[in-house]
Symmetry: C2
Subunit: 667 residues, 2 copies
Amino acid sequence: MPNSTLEERCVNTIRTLSIDAVQAAESGHPGMPMGMADATFVLWDKFLKHDPKQPHWYDRDRFVLSAGHGSMLLYSLLHLTGYDLSLDQLKNFRQWGSKTPGHPEYGHTPGVETTTGPLGQGFATGVGMAMAEAHMAAKFNTQRFTITDHYTYGIVSDGDLMEGISHEAASLAGHLKLGKIIYLYDSNRISIDGSTDLAFSEDVVGRFKSYGWHVMEIDGHNRKSVEEAIREAQNETGKPSLIVCKTHIGFGSPNKQDSAASHGSPLGEDEVRLTKENLGWESDEKFYIPDEVFNYFRKAVKKGGEKHQNWRETLNEFTNNKAKKAAAFKAQIAGELPDNLEQYLPQFEADSKGMATRAASGKVLNKIAASIPSLIGGSADLTGSNKTWIDDEGIFDAKNYAGTNIHFGVREHAMGAALNGMALHKGVIPYGGTFLIFSDYCRPAIRIAALSNISSIYVFTHDSIGLGEDGPTHQPIEHLASFRAMPNVLVLRPADANETAWAWKAALEYGDGPALLVLTRQSLPIIDRNKQNSASLTGKGAYIIADSDKDTPDAILIATGSEVQLTLDARKALKDDNIDARVVSMPSWELFARQSQSYRDKILLPDVKARVSVEAGATFGWERWIGSAGTAIGINRFGASAPYEEIYEQFGITVDRIINETKLLVS
Amino acid sequence: MPNSTLEERCVNTIRTLSIDAVQAAESGHPGMPMGMADATFVLWDKFLKHDPKQPHWYDRDRFVLSAGHGSMLLYSLLHLTGYDLSLDQLKNFRQWGSKTPGHPEYGHTPGVETTTGPLGQGFATGVGMAMAEAHMAAKFNTQRFTITDHYTYGIVSDGDLMEGISHEAASLAGHLKLGKIIYLYDSNRISIDGSTDLAFSEDVVGRFKSYGWHVMEIDGHNRKSVEEAIREAQNETGKPSLIVCKTHIGFGSPNKQDSAASHGSPLGEDEVRLTKENLGWESDEKFYIPDEVFNYFRKAVKKGGEKHQNWRETLNEFTNNKAKKAAAFKAQIAGELPDNLEQYLPQFEADSKGMATRAASGKVLNKIAASIPSLIGGSADLTGSNKTWIDDEGIFDAKNYAGTNIHFGVREHAMGAALNGMALHKGVIPYGGTFLIFSDYCRPAIRIAALSNISSIYVFTHDSIGLGEDGPTHQPIEHLASFRAMPNVLVLRPADANETAWAWKAALEYGDGPALLVLTRQSLPIIDRNKQNSASLTGKGAYIIADSDKDTPDAILIATGSEVQLTLDARKALKDDNIDARVVSMPSWELFARQSQSYRDKILLPDVKARVSVEAGATFGWERWIGSAGTAIGINRFGASAPYEEIYEQFGITVDRIINETKLLVS
C-alpha cells in the first residue's frame, strides 16, 4: 500500500475492522463506521483526552456515540488505542458473553461512556455530562488550579436529529451556553428507509443556529477540515458546537456507498473484498491491523497516561493548597454519601391534618442538601408543584454554573437523559421532577438508566386521581405497574411525611438504577409513630404499620402511599366488628422482594389468605401479593376531573369499600 | 360600557367567563384564555368554518387547543357559539359529571376535537388531521367538486414548543408542505416556573423557518393584525403557518398580568373584581353575558348551518355525477369496514419452517388493503423491518397526497400523535410501525388514544429477545405488561401467521382505543390448523390450541406469540412422560378478559391449579392467569446481544424448562 499515508491506513483500519466484525457476526451496521472513520479518527487522534488504561479518569473528555448502531466504530477505536478490549472481542461482535454487544452498553465495555442505540439518547445524555462538567468546574476550579476541564464530544446522526429529544436537549444546551459540547453530525443523508429526502428536509444548520449553537459545515472526509472545525469549536466557548460533516455512508464500498444497503446489514463477503480492494487495502486477512498502524494508535496509552499523571499532580498541589476544597471535590467525585444518612433526615411530628408527601419531600430535600453538596436538580417547569427547589442554592445557568437549581423547561425527555449524563459524569447526584403522568415523556431515558444501573432520582408528584381537578389527562393510572415491570427501577410510594424521608434515603442509597419517588399532591395525615411501627422500615419495602392483636390476623390489608391512611381507618372500624386485621404499608415492591423469604413471610403470613390491597392505580400485578383469593381495590379505568375527595368516593377507593371487601373475604 | 365596541365586549366576555369559571372551581388556568381571547375571537368570528349544532360535520375546520390547560377559552367559545354546552356546564367547570373537565377531552364535550393537556400532543395531532385532510382532498376532490377543503387551526403555547414532539411534528409538517395548518402561537413568555427566560431562549421564528414553515410575528392583541395574518397564512398554500402572537398572559388583570401567578391558579375574588373594573366590564354578576354579545356569537349557528347545507348540496351533486366515487368517499368517512372481513384474510398453509409474524402481518396488510381503501400508514423509518409497505400504493408526500405509504421519519412520538389526528379526522384508518421497544417513545400519544377511544393501529415488530443481536437496548421486556396495565389498550401477540391475520381483524374492529400488533422478527412455524383449533379463535383472546385427552388435564400451559410453539413441543414431550397437558394460546389478555365467565372457565379450568405461563417478557401480572400456585416462565432482567437462539437458551425460555416446571407443579 505504498500510496497510502499512515493516516489513511489508520482510517482504513477502522473501516476494515468494522466491516469484518459485522460480516463475521452476519449482523450489524457497517455504513456509519465507514462514513465517519475519517472525522472520528481526527477527533481521537488529535483531540480526545483520555487514558485508555484508566478509562474512569475523572477529567477525561467524554466521547458519546449517539448513533449507537455504529458501535464497531467505537469498539475499533477502543481496541486500537489500548483499552481492555481485545481483538478477539471484536471478532466476537454481537455474540453471547462478548464485550462487544450490538449497541454500546455502559458498564459492559471499558471506554463506553453511555448506553446508546435508541436514537437521540446519546445526544441528550452528552448535554447532561456537559452540565455536570460546567458545574464542577465552576464549583471547584480556582484561578490557580483547573481540576475540571474537559469536552463532551459526540457523534450524532440524521436519526438522532429527527428524534424530539434532540430538540429538547439542543434547545436546553443552547440556553445554557454549554460551550464545551462539540458534536460531529454525520450528515450522510441516508436512513434505514432510504434517502432522508423521504422524510427529513429541514434546514439543520438554521435549526441549530436558532437554538444558539455555533454551526459549521464541512466535508467529513477532509481530515484537515475536521481538524480546523474542531479547533474552531473549541475556541467558541460561549456556545455548543455542531460540526455538520457531509459524509458518504459505506465510504469505500463500490456498490453500497451512499445507499441504505450499507446501513444495517453486512456488506456480504464479496462486497467486503471489493471494498478492501477499492480502498487499496493491503491484506485479505480478516481483522488485519498493520503493525505501523497499531503502534501509532497505541501511542494513546502513553500520551493519555502522561496527561492523567499531570492532572494527578495538579490535584495533589490543589490538595496541598486547598485541603478542604480538595477533600470536598474528591468526596463528590467518589459519590460519597454522609455516614449515618438517617441522622440528617427530618422527623415529622404526628399530625392528623398532615402534609402532602410532595411537601414533605421538599422539606427532606432541603434538609439533606446541606449534608449532600453533590445534590443538583430541578424540575421540568413544575418547580413549585414538585417542591424540588433548594432554598439556599442559586439557579444553575450560564451566569452561574455553580448553582444547583436547574430549570429544565418543559422538556421531560431531555431532563431524563440529562440526569443520566450528570450521573455518568460523576461528581453530582442528580434529581429531576415532574408530574408522575409525564414520566411517559421521559420513559426511554428512564429505561436507559435502568439498563445502565444509573442512579438518577425522580421526584414524581401528583401521583394519582388525588390530584383532582386537572382530570384524566393528568391522573396516573397504569404508571406504577408500568415501572414495577421494568427491571432495576426502584419505585417508592411513601404513605406519609416520615416514610417520605426514609424513601429519599432509600433512593440515594439504591445504586442499581433510577429511583422514583411517587408523591401526592394532596395532604396526608402524618402517622403517629408512637403507636405504629417506625417509618425507618420503609427501607424494607413493606412492614406492619398496625397489627392485629391475634397471633393470626383475620385479614391482611396492604396499601401504598395515600391509601395507607384509608386502610388504617378501615382496620379500626373492622375491629369494632370483631375482624382483627393487620395493615401492611408497602412503599416499595422492589425493596420488599429483596428481603429474605422469612421476613416476607413474617409480614405477609402465608396462612392468611384473606388479603386486600388498596392503591389508587391499576390493580395490575397485585395478585403477586394478595394471591388468587385476595381482593385488589384500585382503578382500572381512566380518571375524572373533579375535587379529589369526590373522585375517591365515586371510584370506590374508600374506607367503607375496604371494610366491605374485607368482610366479604373473611366471611 | 359605552366606550367598548361590540368586538371588545365579545372578547371580554370570553375573558370574564373564563376567570369566573376558574374562580368558581377554585382551580384552573385563567391567564391563557385572557391572553389569547383577542386572537382566538378573530379566528372563530372571521374564519372558523363549523356548524355548532352538528359538531361532527366532516368538512368543518378543525380547531385544536394544544395548550389544553386554557380549556375555559374553548368552553367559553363553544357555549357562546351555540354548541350543546350550557352556561350551567361552565359554572360546573372541573366538577364531577360536568362536560367541562380540567382539560379538553374528546368524546366528552361537543366541539372538542382532541384531548389535550399533556403538552405538544395537540400540536402533533393537528398535523395528523391536516395529513388526513390533504389525503382525502387529493383522493376524492375533482375539478368540479370540492368535498374536502378545511383548515387545521391550533393554539400552541411556549410549553408545546419546548416539548420534543413539537419538533418532530413541525419538521414532518414542513417536509410534507401541509399548507392548511395555521397555528397561533401564544407567545406570552411565561410558563409555570416564571419567565421563559429561565429555560427557553431559542429563536422560535428561525427554528420554524428551518422546518419550512411560513412564520409571521404580530401583536396578539391587535385584532386587525391577527385577521391579516390568518389571511396571509391562508394564502400561503405550500407551507404550514405559524403566527407568533405576542400576548400578555392574564391580560387585563391589574396585579397578575404578565406573571406566572395568573397561569395556573384562580385570580382570587378581589383580583377578579379588579380585573373586571380594569377591563371596563359592565356587570358584577358572575358568568354575565351581555345580550348583544350573546346574539352576536350565536350567529355562528345560522352561518355554520348554511355552510354545512351548501356542502351537503355539493355532496349531493357529487353523488349524482360521480356515484361510485361518492359512495367510496362516504364509506370512508363513515369508517366502514367490509362485511365479513374474515373472507379477505389470507390463509397460511401449515409450515414447520414458517414465517415471522411481522412478515405475515405484511402479507395480511397487503391483502386486506385492497378491500379497505381507507387504510393509510407507514413506519418511523423501519418500513422494511416492520413490513408496513402496501405494494400497490404510492408514497404519501407533497407531490402525491393521494398516496397511502407514509414515511414518518425517525419520529415515533409525532407518528403516534399523527395517527390520533388522522383517526379523529375520519376518512382514513391509520396505522404506524416501529420496533416494540420504541413504543416508549410514543407512549404519551398511545395514552391519549386510549383515553379518547381512538382506533389507531400499531405494528410493533421485533417484540422480544427474539430480535437477537441488536441487544438489550432493542429488546422489549416490560412492554407487554406496561400496555396491559393501560386502560382501553388492545394488545395482540399472535402465535403464528394465521393468528396474525385474525389479530389484524380484531385490531380493525376494536374501536375502544389503540390496538397494538406485537410481532416477531424471527420465523415461527405456521401451526397446523387441521390438528389444532382454528386461528379464528384469536378474537376470543385465548383458546385451546392443543388439548389434553383427559377430561381434566394434568396441567394448563399458557403462552403467547413466539412461545406458543415451544409450549406445544413441551406438551408432546410431557405426554410421553404421562403428563397430559392442555395448551392455551393467549394472544390477547384484554379480549379474553371480555369473554363470559363460562368461556373463561372452559379455557382455564378453575380446578386445574398446575399452570405454567410462557412469555419472553416480564412475568409481571401473569399471576392473574396462573394463580398463586402457578409458575411464570419469562424474563425479569434486561436482554443480551447474541443470536436469538442462544439468548432463549441462556434465559431458560426453552422446551426443557417448560417440561421441568410443569413436572414440578404436577408432582
